[in-house]
Structures are given as C-alpha cells and as structure tokens.
C-alpha cells in the first residue's frame, strides 16, 4: 500500500506538469488547429530567462513573472510576425513553421546558455519532505501539484467566467462568425498564443528545479504533454488536465510494477489505444465527418 501511495504521489507531481503542457497545446489547437511543436522550446526559453534573472539576485516571484511574460510575448510575437503574415499557408505548413521555431529557439539557447545542465534555484526544497503515513512527499512535489492546480483553476475562471474567455471560445468555434459579431479575432488569437506559451513557461519553471535546466529539458515532457492532450481529447481543456494526471500516474505505476524499460513506450501505447477505441479522447467531443 505504501508502495502504491509512493508511486501515486510521484505520478501526480509529474502528471500536473504534463497537464500544464497539455493545456497549452490544447488551448492553441482549439483556437487555430495548429499543433505547436515549439511549445516545449518556448517553455525552456522562458525558464532560462527566469534562471538568468535569478542569477542576478532578482527575487523569485519577479523573475518567474518576468519569464512568463517573456514566454507570452514570444508566443504572441510568433503569431503576429510569422504565422499571421503566412495567411496562405496550409495547416501543415503552419505546423512545420512551429517546428522551425523549435529548432531556432533550441539553437539560440545552446548558443547563449550552453548545452550543459544548470541547477535551477527554487524557494521550495526538494529534500525537505513531509510524511503521510509511510508515503513521502517532498516540498517541491507538493508545490508542483498545488501550483499546477492553481494555474488550471485560474485558466478555468478566465475561459469560462470572463468576457475575454467567452471571446476566446467564440473565436475557437467559428472565427468568421465571431469576427462578424465584432470580436477582434486577431487580438484574441495573439492572446491565446501568449496564454498558452505562458502556461508552458510555468511548467518549465516548475520542472527545472527537479530535473535540471538545459536546452532540451522539455523534450520528454512536451511529448508526454502531447500524449496527454490526445488521451484527454485534443480539443478539451478539462480533458487535457485529466489526460495529464492519468498519464503521469499510469507511467509511475507501470514503471513501479511492470517495467521501467517500457515506461516511455506506454504513453504512445495509450495514444494508439485511445485512437482505436475513442478517437476523440476521453473528454473530447465526438468527431463527425461532414460529407
């Protein structure tokens, strides 16, 4: 029982990060149908911004806020400067553009910060632990889970309870109709890109103290976040959260009881299974093909 509890705690902490990454991916996919392959690299860049500021003795909260703002600006700028001018590009073309951005960002980070690992300072301790019975939770894991949940809550309120959120949903459903009703679709798109990138940045800042910061830090979490998004339903925000936690826990329990070697494969096994049984994902809307 202790064992299972320990695996669950580990899985939840990882899952909350997957969920944050998945939320960013889903947010963009819902509004623009673009799968953003640069999501992980934007997140890593934001984390490096925080890292640099922290190195100059900037307080943690300010450094993190600045890094999230940097991620948001970068995301919005990518939309305004690259994606929007390429109006004629097909969806696939746009996706390839995000791939290009990923490569550029990765190169820039290697050039500026080098390819070696950095220790990312955090106000939470990774070695200070709390005990729930026999199960051990580090302050950092707890902080990650709580921060993840808080961010998800904020996003929920923003999208479901505010006018901006309503506009975002409207643009996602039918851009032309939304524009006809006077919603500034371009600004809403830019906002969506910014918001999604900032979410990724938050995941990066939460992850870096645990796994060390280097330009490739988000490679695995990005792929897992993508898997989580597909698992939960690629156009469903609650689905992304559920998918993230499910995948995190499933991986941890699988690694503990079955095999470490196939832990990474598990995520993709799950994707295949989901696509076969329920292609729209656990919480996604049913997919109708118009004839």
């Amino acid at each position: 029982m202790t064992q299972l509890g320990q695996y669950l705690v580990g899985g939840l902490a990882t899952g909350s990060l997957y969920a944050l990454v998945a939320l960013g991916i889903v947010l963009l996919y819902r509004s623009s149908r673009v799968l953003n392959f640069a999501h992980g690299d934007v997140a890593t860049l934001a984390t490096f911004v925080a890292f640099t500021l922290l190195g100059r003795a900037v307080p943690f909260s300010i450094a993190v806020t600045a890094s999230l703002a940097a991620a948001a600006v970068l995301g919005a700028a990518f939309f305004f400067l690259i994606l929007r001018p390429a109006k004629e590009a097909t969806l696939l073309g746009k996706i390839v553009m995000t791939l290009g951005l990923a490569l550029v960002l990765s190169g820039v980070m290697q050039l500026v910060w080098g390819a070696d690992e950095h220790v990312f300072p955090s106000p939470l301790s990774d070695t200070r632990v709390y005990k729930l019975g026999q199960v051990v939770v580090s302050q950092m894991s707890l902080g990650t889970i709580v921060s993840g949940l808080v961010l998800m809550g904020i996003l929920y309120v923003l999208i479901q309870r505010t006018k901006v959120g309503l506009a975002m949903r409207a643009v996602a459903q039918n851009t032309v109709a939304a524009q006809a009703l006077g919603i500034p679709a371009r600004r809403i798109y830019a906002l969506t890109w910014g918001l999604a990138s900032a979410l990724g940045g938050a995941a990066g800042v939460l992850l870096a103290p645990v796994v060390y910061l280097d330009p490739f830090m988000m490679l695995d979490p990005f792929l897992k976040g993508f898997a989580a998004a597909v698992l939960g339903g690629i156009d469903s925000l609650p689905g992304a959260v559920l998918g993230g936690f499910l995948l995190g826990v499933a991986e941890s329990v699988f690694a503990g009881y079955v095999s470490f070697k196939f832990k990474t494969t598990l995520a993709f096994g799950i994707i295949i299974l989901v696509l076969m049984i329920r292609p729209e994902g656990v919480l996604g809307r049913e997919y109708h093909r118009r004839v």
């Binding site: 064992q3 220790v119 490679l219």
Partner: protein, 396 residues
C-alpha cells in the same frame, strides 16, 4: 563514328576523370599544411554534458599545438558534427565525415551504442579511429583492428573492480545497479554481475534502468529502495545520476554510492549537492585537482584557450587524454604522413606517458592502449585518491 574514334573518345573521357586524382596528395585528409580530423559528438540531447566540453577541449588542444607550429609543419583541423547521442545520426555523421569532409582520422565519437553503430562502416573504409569513446569491451576479440586505437577503459572490467572494491573495503553485502538502458549501462551491469559471481558473500539484489530521454526517475528510486541494497552502483548520465541520488535521499534511502568514472566531473557536486559526498568512483587518468601537476597544467592551458572549459574540468582534460596518443603517433611518423606509417609509429608506443593519459602501449597485437584504473572518493566538493593503479587484462 568509327571504332577508333569511339576508343579515342573513351580514352579522353577516362583521362579527364582520372586527371584530377593524379594531382591530389596520396592520403585523404592530409595536405602539406593541414591534417583534418573528424568527430561525431552529442552537442545536444542527453549527453551534451560530455560531448560539448570534450569536443571543445580537443579543439582547444589542437589550437595549442597549431600555435606551437603544428606537427611537422601541418596544422590540425577538427570537424565536429552533432549526433544528439542518437546512433542513427552518428552513422550519418560518420559517413559524411569520411565521404564529404574527407577526414584523415576520426577522433573519439561518443557513446558505446553510437560507436557500435558506426563500427563496421569505419572498419570497411579503413579509416584511422582514435579512442572511440565506448566501453573497450565491444572490441574484445575483434580482428580488423589495424586502424583502431583505443585508450578507453572497459566497463565490464570496471564493473568487476567496483564490486570487488566495495566488497573488500566498504563492507558491501548486497548490491543494486542503476543503469542506462543501452550498451553503456548494460556492459556496466554485466561487469557488476561478473564481479558478484566471483565474490562469495555479495548478492545482486536489484537493478533499475532508465532511458536517456527520461525526464525523471522517481519510480526507479522507490524500486531501488525496496531492494534494501547496502550499495548502489551507477552507470548513468550525470543528469540521471544526480537525479537518482537526490530522489533516493528524499526517500531517506542512503546506500553506499559507487560509480563509473563517467560521473567524475566535479559538476556533479553542483548537480547532486551534498548527496554526492562520499561517493566512490574510478578514474583511468589522474583527475584535475588530485595532485598531478601535468594534468593541472593541461587544464590551465585549456581554460586559457577556452574559458568555458574550466566549468567542466574532468571532461576537458578527458578530451586531451583521448587524442594525445594520436598526436604522439603523428610526431613519430615524421613529415611523410600516410595511414600505414602512422599505424607503424603508433605501435611503437610502449608505456608512454602524455600530459594527461599515462601508460599507453600499442603493438601489432594490442590496440587496447590502456588497461588500468584507480579508486577515488568524493569529499566536500573534491576528489581524493584512494588507491594506486589497478591493472586488468587486455582483450583487443
């Protein structure tokens, strides 16, 4: 067109094809003023921690030699290609280095799995290959060794040595292994298994692997804790090594830690924090800061040429260790440089000491240049030498 005219035309065509070749120097990658050397390294991905400083150090060392006038009037030029620690990319890079960049020799190439992947190609093209950074075990009994010179240790022998040392000196009774799930980690695991088999009172109680791409290792830490091992042996990347040590500390599981030399870089103290105290590791050349003046001087030279190398001292001098024997071979070959003359010159090295690498011996029957290691202990951010050299049998 009559037959004669056709033949004449064919002759002209053939001559045109052959003509440029006649003017070229006899040896690929060698001109009167330059020797081109190539390497495929992980400059990105999970092993960039090794690849970036090692390739930069080789480059810096070449620069030092070039500034001193080169070797027999020839400057050394290093071509580095990034393989991201992925064997398929290492294969593509190596082909490019040989066929397009026309290198005289390949230096190093990092990763046991990567080296294994390009092995047959390099042998087939008869390219000089200096110290492939792979457990030397993959060459055991290998016959086509004429152009391959290894000064890298054996992970199997290291695994045996680590296990035996722990049993004899650290009161080890039960061992667990944390290893990378590829040839590097598997060879280390095999060594530990052999070590355990040779000892009567030590048991292997568990093993946990990870993939290079894994971001976290919490499940492995929990699993290792359940084994209750009193000693854990590490065959990992610095990132995963530091992660597992920290995760185990979180679970208040603190076995005696014993590690491959691959984690000797002092950067581990920053990554793993105080959890890296009291770790036992091997070394196969004297690490910087353990009282060897020549090694410390080499590091100072490297850091002067490329200040970033000071951040990764062990890997930096490692880069020098990997190419020194080759450079000595070039010196001994003399101005008339060909592949076969270089091989003959390299095979005259007998117990030869470089600035960093020590005791290199090659002969027509022996291309495994080094076969010894010693034990270190990590204490308060520094490494302390515990033993003298221990030698193991050569197989290549």
């Amino acid at each position: 067109m009559n037959t004669l005219a056709r033949m004449a035309l064919a002759l002209v065509a053939v001559t045109a094809l052959v003509a440029p070749a006649v003017g070229q120097p006899a040896e690929r990658g060698v001109t009167a003023t330059e020797i081109t050397v190539g390497t495929s390294m992980p400059l990105s991905g999970g092993a960039a921690f090794w690849g970036v400083p090692i390739s930069a150090a080789i480059d810096a060392w070449f620069k030092k030699i070039n500034d001193e006038g080169g070797i027999h009037g020839r400057k050394l030029r290093l071509v580095v290609k990034d393989d991201g620690y992925l064997p398929p990319r290492a294969v593509a890079n190596t082909r490019e280095l040989v066929e397009r960049d026309a290198v005289f020799a390949l230096a190093s190439s990092l990763g046991t799995a990567n080296v294994f992947a390009v092995r047959d190609y390099v042998v087939e093209t008869q390219t000089i290959w200096i110290t492939p950074l792979a457990g030397v075990d993959i060459w055991a009994g290998f016959r086509n060794k004429k152009y391959i010179f290894a000064t890298y240790p054996s992970y199997i022998e290291e695994g045996i040595y680590l296990t035996t040392y722990a049993a004899q000196n650290l009161k080890t009774k039960s061992v667990a292994v944390f290893y990378q799930n590829d040839l590097y980690g598997q060879l280390g695991l095999l060594g530990v298994k052999r070590g355990v088999a040779q000892l009567k009172n030590v048991k292997l109680v568990g093993q946990a692997s990870y993939e290079v791409t894994d971001a976290e290792v919490t499940a492995q830490a929990q699993k290792l804790k359940e084994t209750g091992a009193d000693t854990l042996i590490l065959y990992a990347t610095p990132r995963h090594g530091a992660l597992i040590v920290r995760e185990m500390a979180k679970l208040s599981f603190r076995p005696t830690l014993v590690s491959s030399f691959t984690l000797t870089d002092p950067a581990m103290f920053a990554l793993a924090g105080e959890a890296w105290n009291n770790v036992y590791l091997t070394a196969y050349f004297p690490p910087p800061g353990t009282g060897d003046a020549k090694v410390d001087a080499a590091l100072a030279t490297l850091s002067r040429i490329n200040p970033a190398l000071a951040r990764s001292p062990f890997n930096a001098v490692g880069g020098v260790a990997f190419v020194e024997a080759f450079l000595e071979g070039l010196r001994r070959t003399g101005p008339n440089l060909t592949k076969d003359r270089l091989v003959a010159a390299m095979e005259t090295l007998k117990n030869w000491d470089g600035e960093v690498i020590r005791g290199v011996t090659f002969s027509p029957d022996r291309h495994q240049g080094t076969n010894r290691m010693l034990m270190l202990k990590a204490e308060n951010g520094q490494y302390k030498k515990l033993t003298n050299w221990y030698s193991y049998p050569t197989k290549f």
